[in-house]
């Protein structure tokens, strides 16, 4: 199979859907003439023209409102945020308008829109550029939340997000745009709300998503050297949460560790933990454990970044704890 870059997979998803449906357009800062702050939309202005690939001023609240209004009036906007940190300015429109439109109008008018962009930390960018927002958006009824870890999933899920009739929050990562992965030439869609077992195993279940999948898979690799077979599940969609897939795995492994970049309070792992202890209490041989980001803003210094984020050694150690292994 051919391999393409993460950013190319995202671009293909948008371009294919835009070729199919005149109502789909892309809007955001630097998406057109600059070809995207992270080059996701490279060449799209040339193909689709300025009517459908639209540069905005730095005005997140305003252009999100315009896109939300356009979605209510028959269009299917894709809104790119340079990063999700800046989408906070638009949270009013996403939370108070987009997510509630269908409910408030008694089903008269929905909001088929995709909000997408880079999420989470990306090296030493300091406190204001490093927040991972999955749990925050997943808290909001009316939204669907996707967070992808590789080009194949990115393309298939972004295509599904664009044709979905509900507002979808779609999370990428600055540090993954340049990564390569296998993506078939043929058209495909990945259904929203389906987790994926990225590595089968029988001894312990590790659940993760977005770039923390690297930590989960890295830990599984390390554990394999010691004969421990971890099953690694990539959530891919945060809301709706595919807890059935996790439960099925836990029925087999009886142990669950969650690795995520969220802050710990009311995080994705909190929700998973609640669900699995409720639905799968009898299958658990150890408390469900997790590694999140530290309960703090991310600082700049490299050692503080390292201390803030989940990593492979801590994940390996935690897995051994839930397996009651010495050392």
């Amino acid at each position: 199979m051919r391999t393409i870059l993460f950013r190319e997979a995202l671009r293909e998803a948008m371009s294919e859907e835009m070729r199919k449906d005149e109502k789909v357009f892309l809007m955001g800062e630097e998406v057109a003439e600059y070809n995207g702050a992270y080059k996701v939309s490279q060449g799209m202005l040339a193909e689709f023209g300025p009517k459908r690939v639209i540069d905005t001023p730095i005005a997140e609240l305003g252009f999100t409102a315009i896109a939300v209004g356009a979605a209510q009036n028959g269009l299917r906007p894709i809104v790119e945020y340079m990063t999700w940190n800046f989408a906070v300015l638009a949270l009013d429109q996403i939370l108070n308008t987009a997510s509630k439109m269908l409910a408030m109008s008694g089903g008269q008018v929905g909001c088929p829109i995709v909000f997408r962009g880079a999420n989470g930390s990306a090296g030493q960018l300091g406190a204001q550029h490093s927040t991972a927002f999955e749990s925050l958006y997943a808290n909001i009824p009316g939204l669907k939340v996707i967070s992808v870890s590789n080009p194949y999933d990115a393309k298939g899920l972004l295509k599904s997000a664009i044709i979905d009739n509900d507002p979808v929050v779609f999370m990428e990562s600055e540090v993954m745009y340049g990564e390569k992965g296998e993506v078939p030439e043929e058209t495909y869609y990945i259904p929203i709300g389906k987790a994926d077992i990225k590595r089968p195993g029988k001894d312990v279940t590790i659940v993760s998503f977005n770039k923390m999948m690297k930590v989960a898979l890295g830990a599984a690799e390390e554990l394999a050297k010691e004969g421990i077979e971890a099953e690694v599940i990539d959530l891919r969609t945060i809301r709706p949460l595919d807890w059935y897939t996790i439960l099925e795995s836990v029925k087999k492994t009886n142990r669950l560790v969650i690795v995520e970049e969220q802050w710990p309070f009311a995080s994705v792992s909190s929700e998973i933990t609640y669900r699995i202890q409720k639905e799968g209490f009898d299958y658990l041989d150890a408390p469900i454990r997790r590694i999140t980001s530290a309960d703090a803003p991310m600082h700049y210094a490299p050692n503080l970044v390292a201390a803030y984020l989940p990593d492979v050694p801590r994940t390996v150690k935690l897995v051994k704890e839930v397996m009651y292994l010495k050392k």
């Binding site: 090296g123 204001q128 503080l304």
Partner: protein
């Protein structure tokens, strides 16, 4: 520690002179602008060649005349606040080159203990309220600083800086309205370097003269040549005087230019080299050098000696940064709450 050769802040009366500037003022401008420029160039070198500095890095090179003119038109106690292009402002307010360089290196001795990095320099004891990373946010918080000065009954005036790109955020309008309504002692200074990343001003609005945005709120406003410290000084001095005398805010649009890309990683395909070269003919350091020599305020040898000294100060800041320790890992959960007994979630 960098102490200026010409500590003009001792001479309280230079500010009363509107357009005719003293020898000390010119030499201070020269020194400050050279310090900022040499600091930035050295830091960029350490970023690119040595990989000692990471994250986003937005250089102030080209815009130094603003720092020069604003400094001589204000008092030390007048708070300054700006965005992420903040190195020049921190240095101008007197945060030491050592603390600034150490911050870029992420060291414990940095201006924010290595926690902020390039975008978040702070020096509250120098009345520098930081480097802020969310475009436009400090327009509002700058007005908040001014609200507090008014509330406390001081006659301090806040200088609140933001870019041309930031001028398109909605917060500008909400803030301008309230700042005028409450006559807050703040000078809003738009550093119009004509680009927000790769987007030129005329691609962001129908209104390309940003100072006109003040009209809707009947806020006094001016367009200013931001490459010339004399003009900057005069315009800021007028606005500061108005604010000190309870006359409320002013918007100053300063036309300036950044010689470097938006950040270190910017390939700058959106602008022509000639445009940059043209601005370089208006270089504020060249301008001030000429004024100094023409007026015989100093000889070229004396200026060379200042340069050499600044070079030494900047080199020393690198040594200081390199020798400084990293923050202790325990800093991870420090400075998050003022409450020292706060119970963090630790799994």
């Amino acid at each position: 520690m960098c102490t200026f050769l010409f500590p003009i802040f001792a001479a309280q009366n230079f500010r009363q002179v509107p357009t005719k500037f003293s020898k000390e003022t010119y030499l201070y401008w020269y020194e400050l602008m050279q310090l900022i420029r040499q600091f930035e160039l050295k830091a960029e070198e350490k970023y690119k060649m040595a990989g000692k500095i990471r994250g986003f890095f937005h250089a102030y090179v080209g815009q130094e005349a603003l720092a020069a003119g604003c400094m001589t038109a204000t008092r030390q106690e007048d708070p300054f606040i700006t965005a992420y292009r903040d190195h020049g402002w921190a240095l101008a307010k007197g945060v030491t080159p050592n603390a600034c360089m150490a911050e870029l290196y992420g060291k414990a001795t940095g201006a924010a203990k290595g926690k902020g990095g390039s975008m978040h320099f702070f020096g509250v004891k120098e009345y520098f309220f930081g480097g802020h990373g969310i475009v436009g946010a400090q327009i509002g918080t700058g007005a908040g600083l001014a609200f507090a000065e008014q509330y406390k009954g001081t006659d301090n005036v806040v200088l609140c800086f933001f870019g041309d790109g930031a001028a398109r955020q909605g917060i500008l309008h909400e803030t301008f309205n309230m700042a005028m309504l409450w006559k807050l002692p703040v000078v809003f200074i738009c550093e119009n370097n004509n680009y927000a990343m790769g987007t030129s001003v005329e691609r962001t609005s129908n209104v390309v003269d940003i100072y006109k945005l003040a009209d809707a709120y009947e806020m006094p406003a001016d367009m200013v040549d931001g490459m010339d410290p004399e003009t900057v000084h005069d315009a800021v001095a007028r606005a500061v005087k108005r604010a000190r005398e309870k006359g409320g805010p002013t918007l100053l649009e300063m036309k300036t230019y950044r010689y470097k890309g938006h950040s270190i990683s910017d390939p700058q395909k959106y602008r022509r080299k000639e445009e940059l070269d043209e601005y370089k003919t208006k270089d504020p350091i060249t301008f001030v050098t000429k004024a100094i020599l023409d007026n015989k305020f100093a000889t070229q040898e004396e200026l060379d000696a200042i340069d050499a000294r600044i070079n030494e100060v900047v080199e020393e800041s690198v040594r200081f940064a390199e020798e400084s320790p990293w923050p202790d890992d325990s800093e991870l959960l420090k400075d998050v709450y003022a409450d020292e007994n706060y119970q963090f979630i630790v799994d």
